[in-house]
Symmetry: C2
Subunit: 558 residues, 2 copies
């Protein structure tokens, strides 16, 4: 197996250039989409955009600067190649992919630097500060909120993307205290592989897992598939090290402390605006004996929501619990890959009809995935208790194959998004969180705002939602939505939708992001959520660590 | 029952003026103490210090200022009474009590203000800023690190203590999301009473519980007796509201978010240096059906430590687990109140002799208290699993009465400290935390440093330690120690000890405080732990919110 970083990835979309989503194996999906959105999908893939058609701004850094940078990292770790610059010019949001596909890459970094050590990072920041160059920390580049796009700031002459991929060492594994320290540039698969060798496990797997890494997760307050059980990345970070233009901040590696405001929680979510995260110690756990994923079907979405609340509040907490609304449950069935064995598929369809007669329907009810990880006996006990909660709230267990189907496909959806974009479909996601008392209200408001925004551009809508990261006091809501792209006005249409949905979130008591972060795309709502005084204070803090404002300009409204 | 705030409290020591510690019921304690420390205790209580002997600096605020403050809160809520000023002049640390007993109150506030609303708090800050007056936020006043003592700052003309006791309303109870919002001036007993009426429970009970409150807990990152299960206060805070001299900061009330650095975690631990916490929403839970506290005796301290590690890392987590080292276990036996029934006491002593023969000794082993709270069936299951871990590591269960004895006396120890101080005993506590791999090293280093520091002043030492707040990656260590006071040099002797112990903590990888906070007494180590860059950044943040530096000067090194 190649290291994840050795896989050639798309610059205009998601993931492994050799991989795609096998739509042809899902025959019922396209007719459904065509009917629902009133579009006509041509079942051909639009050709991949060619780098030749991208017009890139010429690098703006002088030879002097380039020599200084080369002296730090060596010529092989400094690049002004078109491919490198384009790769580092955008993230993976819908807006990014729309622009990339049309060859519109307005803000490429002038160079990409690949430091191999913290000393090199420090030296790079010194050059950047002296010369007035924006520095964009780059880990996997999977931001869906514009977090890695180099924006300009008055007074800065150019920008460099500082890609940490070479800084991926295991620095310490302490099996006794269940801690491990890594350089921040390590990506998901290698991090878990290194732990697995030692019988350990982090358990942080966002959808970006295969192409994202530790520093990026921390900088953006990422959440993994199993965050309901294991917590978000900020709860896994025991200590973190940040190289700022003014020096290094190293938080103490202790399980808890009462020594003032928690600087670790300032670095988490700082999105590269304060400095570059170079190392972190994370809290790990024994490698699970079992990964038990199962499907369930609730008669009603409300019963599913109620079940999650009861699990969280009674302490019967799964690693993963994903409750889909009827629209998403229905979609899950449409997008399903039928069994290759006709008899098996026939039996399944018959079972679905029986379930329907009993009131359990994918089209009116709520499909759920329940995942528990850990020791075999303990997981068995826990699954039993959690299943009982679900059944009491109107669920029927669908067994393991339904759960494993989801589990095996859990990293594939971004490929599917890219394909649909080639069909003229606006397809994007957004996420928020709120308390239980407000969850259905926020759900309806955001859903309504998306439908409305799509209608404003004469599009029907498919808007689906699930709960996937839950807490005793509330839950995240994750929306996936599709409409018809307004040809030639793709960005304008998307901005309109984003504005309406963002406003609906803030007006209805949600957070503008539970785990995608703020970056550029959420910045307009960030100040509203954070408040003007807190933002002023944060700006002052930033000015101390980054007085020239070189660190990731324009993100977090900083 | 009177409200906790209506109880008259000592200004020169701990708690209810009508309460003390019944030493006479513990006949074996004094001989033990005399032998161990080589002192002769006179079994009389030294007379309470009289307010008449305290010489207090005259109030420094002009009539104009007083009129302005009076216009805000009304004359009955503004005081320059000697009693009020002395009460608000110090906290409850050993250093505080030594000074108070000798009538040495160097930094009384010039006035005490009791606002009744947030509007009044805002108006007070405005006056204070305009006039250049230090503002010391005051909740219960139980700080043991000098957190509430009004220190001067150049350019400020005086100080006021802003006591929040009138601001103790229940603002919202959301039983569906398990959240409740209170004004910050509510104290422990009333907060739990209000929740109890609604079948709910916070579960935060520091030793100060009866005389401390929500705002103070949050400002100092307090930990309750049950923090191993429920977390420290910062984990219970869902959102918090801070009135700063420059405006209000209100964090969003959501279970989790990815919107930048977490400002909630900046307010937690801010110790009044950024503003006054006026409200907070806390995460609550159903009122436990049972409070199951039990005693255990380990053959060795190491077996106890190992057990806690195994509990935390296997997810079999009690609310309370307190593992004492041999010195503390032995002390627990000496300080025990014998049963009033001679036959019962005789049987117990016989049982102890049998246990000793079997290798379970309070003098060589480790006494432990295990507490689980919750639903009856669930607690029974959990206690069984946890007990099995302990037994496997060399423990014998001592049953519930041993646990309940500790439980019922859990708020009494500060009274005992005060009595011992009247006997010429230096008696203080300190606490830290570290990771499991470092725990025994830190334990030995801190213990050694205290013994050495006491020897430097010709005193023998009793140094005891327990683990009481634990995590999967490590634990707190809590030290209680006693020596002979150096007559006439009590403060010098204590400062010497504090310096040695603080240095030992920092040099050996511990945090200078796991839950007491920083205040004035830990400030010398705060910068070392926080690091110069982080402290500079924090200062800049403070300067934005409090540009005149009126908020609690000299705390957190700010």
């Amino acid at each position: 197996m190649p290291k994840s970083k050795e896989i050639e990835t798309r610059w205009w979309g998601w993931g492994d250039i050799k991989k795609t989503y096998p739509v042809e194996e899902r025959p019922s999906y396209i007719p459904y989409l065509e009917e629902r959105l009133g579009i006509k999908v041509e079942q051909v893939r639009t050709p991949d955009p060619s780098l030749d058609h991208v017009e890139l701004r010429a690098p703006r850094l002088s030879d002097d600067v380039m020599v200084e940078l080369e002296q730090i990292v060596g010529s092989s770790n400094l690049s002004t190649e078109k491919r490198d610059r384009v790769h580092h010019a955008i993230g993976k949001s819908y807006r990014d992919v729309v622009r990339a596909r049309s060859g519109n890459i307005p803000n490429p970094p002038d160079a990409v630097v690949y430091p191999g050590s913290e000393e090199e990072v420090k030296a790079i920041l010194e050059v950047a500060e002296n010369r007035g160059i924006a520095v964009i920390p780059y880990c996997g580049g999977s931001s869906v909120v514009g977090g890695v796009e180099p924006l300009d700031r008055d007074g800065l002459i150019g920008s460099i993307s500082v890609d940490l991929r070479r800084m991926d060492k295991v620095l310490m594994v302490d099996a006794e205290s269940l801690r491990a320290r890594f350089e921040a540039g390590i990506w998901g698969p290698e991090l878990e592989d290194e732990l697995k060798k030692r019988g350990l496990y982090l358990g942080h797997a966002p959808e970006s897992f295969l192409f994202s890494g530790l520093g990026g997760w921390i900088a953006s307050r990422s959440a993994g598939r199993q965050s309901t059980g294991y917590g978000k990345i900020e709860e896994m970070v025991e200590s973190v090290r940040l190289v700022t233009p003014r020096g290094i901040i190293d938080t103490l590696d202790v399980p808890a402390s009462a020594t003032g405001p928690d600087f670790k929680e300032i670095i988490c979510g700082s999105e590269g605006t304060l400095g570059i995260i170079t190392q972190a110690t994370v809290r790990v756990r024994p490698l699970p004996e079992v990964f038990d994923y199962r499907g369930l079907l609730f008669k009603e979405f409300e019963g599913g929501v109620q079940s999650v609340k009861e699990m969280m509040q009674s302490g019967n907490i799964p690693e993963t619990i994903r409750i889909s609304d009827p629209e998403e449950s229905s979609l899950a069935l449409r997008v399903r890959k039928p069994s290759s064995k006709p008899a098996k598929e026939k039996a399944l369809q018959a079972a679905l009809r029986v379930l329907d007669l009993l009131g359990y329907s994918f089209h009116r009810g709520s499909y759920a995935v329940l995942g528990c990880e850990g020791r075999k006996v303990e997981v068995a006990e826990r699954v039993k208790k959690i299943t009982a909660i679900c059944v009491r709230n109107g669920a029927v267990p669908l067994g393991r194959s339904a759960g494993m189907e989801w589990y095996h496909g859990r990293y594939d959806h971004p490929y599917f998004r890219d394909i649909m974009m080639g069909w003229g479909v606006l397809v994007d996601t957004l996420e928020t969180a709120t308390t239980w008392d407000n969850i259905m209200k926020l759900y309806r408001a955001v859903r309504g705002s998306i439908i409305e925004a799509l209608a404003d551009y004469d599009s029907k809508a498919i808007v689906t939602c699930h709960l996937s990261h839950s807490y005793p006091t509330g839950s995240s809501l994750y929306f996936i939505f599709m409409g018809k792209q307004a040809k030639g006005k793709e960005i304008e249409q998307w901005e309109h939708l984003k504005r309406k949905a963002g406003d609906a979130i803030i007006e209805n008591g949600g957070t503008i992001s539970h785990h995608h972060g703020v970056g550029y795309e959420h910045a307009p709502w960030f100040e509203k959520e954070y408040g003007p005084e807190a933002l002023k204070a944060l700006k002052a803090l930033k000015e101390t660590l980054d007085p020239k404002g070189i660190m990731n300009p324009g993100k977090l409204g900083l």
